[in-house]
Amino acid sequence: MKLVPSAATVKNALSAHAAIGLLAGALLYLVCLSGTVLVFYEEWQRAEQVDAPEMTAIDAQAVQRGVAAVLESERGKPPTTHLYVHLPVPELPRATITTDTQAVHLDAAGRIAAPEENKWSEFLYGLHYTLHLPGVVGITIVGILGMLMFALSITGLLAHPRIFRDAFRLRTRHGGGVGLADWHNRLSVWTLPFGLAIAITGAAIGLASVTAYALASRYYGNDLEAVYAPIFGGEAKPDTAPGPVPAVATALDYMARNHPDIAITYVTLHDPMTAGQHIQIVASPPRRLIFGEYYAFDAAGRFHGTAGLSDGAIGQQMAASNYNLHFGNYGGLPVKIAYCLFGLALTVVSATGVYIWLGKRRRRGVYEPRLLGAWHGVIWGAPAALAVTLVARFAFGNAAPFTAIFWGLLVLAIVGAVLVAGRRAAAEASIGAPATI
């Protein structure tokens, strides 16, 4: 039995594919491009601050001293609601404490060594996560782009019935759009499992906020935390009465005694220095996609239980696997290199799609030099602007205005490319020469 879609289905699927591709267009390209570079998030952070103290492990007592020192440094200021201790892992062998108002590196003895300086990495993260748009709006738009990417995969398969049969045909030396179409189709089909995984996990992460609001409104009396509590565990009742520095070392000692093979990635203190404070340890079991299991402790470091991300309901394990599957941080450098390579392929696919559409219109006699120029501006302007922000990071330091530089240069690149294309087309028209793509 052959599963071949009808000619009408193929035609409709191509229209749908073009409509979605043009709708997602430049923003999808930016998300693919920034995601490809963001695969090396930890490595970028290390490159930004090469003199930060590094270590393969840190002693539990040293972490305790670091937590006490940071909390002491904030005495008299508005209390932080959370305190996160990043513990050394192979990708980022640093101990870093982050509160609501500051982030500092610790040395191996637990002394505060230096403020964290990773603004370029955070800028890149913001570009990929929210396109630098505020809060829920940005992440939802990126989630919509993930959904559109999934729809592009479906319509692309329907619109090209021979896509598998031709999967190894790459006519790189054919002109007139054939080579371009082959690159687009071959990279699409071979990155399909990767692309689907990235699209679905990205869409789920991006649209989770709005979906959770809807769930909270319909089923939980607008209590947003209650939506996530069955998945990731709930927050304890706050009690703002003063409390001592929590016994982080006791909790870490418990983990070392009872789970010596599981790498601890984070210690989180909820409402530190209050009577309602509690400790949460995130630890990643080997050969799992989940980002980690939550181990809950009270302020005295007594173990209370796990959230069940590693062995609880399948939904919990799925939700906890979403992030690593999307960002590719589950198998060290080899997996990151593969994610970068396939991410680059997806970036090329998103870039070539619009070029193919413009090329087809050109061959039917509809030449739109300014539109083509604008697309050139996006495709070459975005990586160039990104590169300039990186140069600015090393030339001017952590405080350079990366977001303004990137978006300013990108707009300039697009406007400039449109103007150049318009002038060139006018000049060619005046001498009667055909413009070329």
Binding site: A13, I20, A151, I154, L170, V178, A203, V227, L325
Partner: protein, 192 residues
């Protein structure tokens, strides 16, 4: 990787070998069901072996190895491709009007409104209904909530695809069908 990783190596080899067999099958002048089946079976076996070794993590790693093998094959195809002048496709996508054609702006805006904001609303409805159905069927709160978080993007993508391939009348019927499907769960307390 230690000796305990042997099944994962086997899974990777099966995946890469499957790509090689498919490369051969699809280069034959005529369709070969035998070679095709052998290629896909090798890839399916890679998934089974990887899952048996280390679950979803193993499958993800084996998939990356398989995809890398395909990229190598593709790289060879690209590097050895002869020069040529095959005619390129002129298939019309119908996204923008040809010169002289009416713009149909109202129709295009209508399609956008149906697929994007209305599509999102219907996808949210599907997600909420799935959560309610899951609770009613005893999936448990974590599974039901996570199901909703995934149904919204997946449902919207499928809905967008279907809607963009339909006539206006069929689009409205599809939306109405989804709403009717969700109504029992949304209008009653079932699954709350």
């Amino acid at each position: 990787m230690g000796s305990g990783a042997l099944p994962l190596w086997i899974a990777g080899l099966l995946g890469a070998g499957g790509v090689g067999v498919l490369r051969h099958a699809w280069s034959l002048p005529q369709r070969s069901p035998g070679w095709n089946a052998a290629g896909w079976l090798a890839i399916a076996a890679a998934v089974v072996v990887a899952w048996g070794h280390s679950g979803a993590w193993g499958v993800s790693v084996a998939a990356l190895v398989t995809t890398t093998a395909a990229f190598v094959a593709l790289g060879v195809a690209g590097a050895t491709a002869p020069r040529g002048r095959a005619a390129s496709s002129n298939r019309r996508a119908g996204m923008l009007p040809q010169p002289g054609e009416p713009r149909h702006l109202a129709r295009r805006l209508g399609t956008f409104a149906i697929v994007m904001p209305l599509g999102f609303a219907v996808a949210l409805l599907l997600g909420l209904a799935t959560r309610g159905l899951g609770m009613a069927l005893g999936w448990g709160e974590a599974n039901a909530n996570v199901a909703a978080l995934f149904v919204v993007p997946l449902g919207w993508a499928v809905l967008a695809t279907v809607l963009l391939m339909q006539t206006r009348r069929m689009q409205l019927l599809t939306m109405a069908g989804c709403a009717i499907l969700c109504a029992p769960l949304m209008l009653t307390g079932w699954g709350s």
